[in-house]
Symmetry: C2
Subunit: 271 residues, 2 copies
Amino acid sequence: MSTYTLHYWPEIPGRGEYVRLAFEAAGEPYTDDTDVGALTKLVMSASVAGHPPHFAPPVLELASPASSAKRAKTREGQSAPEGSTQSVFISQTPAILAYLAPKLGLAGDVEGDSEEERELRRARVNQLVLTALDLSNETHDVHHPIASSLYYEDQKEEAKRRAEDFRKNRIPKFFQYFEEVLTSNPAKSHRLVGSTTTTADLVLFQVVDGLQYAFPRLLASFEKAGKYPALFEATKSVASEEKLKAYLASSRRRKYGMGLYRHYEELDGDA
Amino acid sequence: MSTYTLHYWPEIPGRGEYVRLAFEAAGEPYTDDTDVGALTKLVMSASVAGHPPHFAPPVLELASPASSAKRAKTREGQSAPEGSTQSVFISQTPAILAYLAPKLGLAGDVEGDSEEERELRRARVNQLVLTALDLSNETHDVHHPIASSLYYEDQKEEAKRRAEDFRKNRIPKFFQYFEEVLTSNPAKSHRLVGSTTTTADLVLFQVVDGLQYAFPRLLASFEKAGKYPALFEATKSVASEEKLKAYLASSRRRKYGMGLYRHYEELDGDA
């Protein structure tokens, strides 16, 4: 019985992948729950997940010691003890990652740091996670610039216009930023903060990987032109970590499709 | 000399206001720096702000004890000591708020909590801050659905289409969510978590206030119809806190204009 259960939509990697990568990189066991019925109940309603309810997945469930014991007993055919503590739930990708990072050794903590130094380093990692997730959100909005509730086909013209700006201005701005973060890291470690892998590196890897799927021509043209060398080097370095390499080659790694990262030929430009 | 300096664009409240409200609600002194030249240097370049650089304002500057001493000495006409510690900078609104909340008594901490309980409560506050900021971001994207780099006038048709979905689906979904958070809070305190004001309450107040400016007809129609009573009650309750009331009536509180929250008659619907 793992301590952590990740509730997310089935099939697509989506925003759940940012959390999944943290567990995989740390070698932490987790349950990947894609039951849509259970997920729907967790979202918007306080009656199942307790207070506060959740706006959208991913939702992380933490088994409290008492509720783990309860499940174990239930498996043995005994009834759950009265008044046992319930599971606790957290949603919002950056909140989940900020909570998990120190527990999984992905917060950039350095031995011998003062409390204040540790806090500041965590704030920096959080800052970089949030910026990479901003790029992730903008990637989604390129194919859905008008409304998430409409089909792509119903906002195709607007998507084309937004994609042009995204390719020309937004991706280059974000990539240049992360290039600067990597090259100004005094540790010169192919990592964003210090010399160990943090949640920020994992999120950045996933965003670059997702963009390579969604905008293959554009991303290939960057690499061919020798642009953002530190960024692409870091992405490869993260993907070659032993645990991540095994995960990425496994059937647990989901294929891109009709989720956050989508490939539409007409949005990829002529590069 | 205050410990905290907030670097943000002049005139507009924008995303800087979420940080400003935290200082004001807590009665914590802060320096409000709107020097555009200094701000521009802080963003995208590691040479001024140290590692990592910052993608966009707001940027929070923390005077380290050593650099405060240095400034005090400089004021007295002496030169700064060699090798004195530099200021430290944090960007990304949710990262700044997560860092400040416990220091300003806005993290929902409850006396007697275990470390784990405190952490979980902070994660909940963070989750709600992030969800309210998602609504803030969507509000911006309504008047800039194609590109931040283009004028509103160059994406007016797309904005009209997006505004329709925003009024009909998105605002109601977010408001219903926060209504559920407020009504399911066991403390029944007009606050989102527990019974004290947290950064989540402040962000939600600012989003509702900004939407009342940007979509006055729509928001008035909600109140007239008796929709989201707990949300509007909470907003009023936060605004009537002594320190916030004084701040909101002061000249420090900036007027809305051409920032994140904009009023365009044609986007407000016929409600």
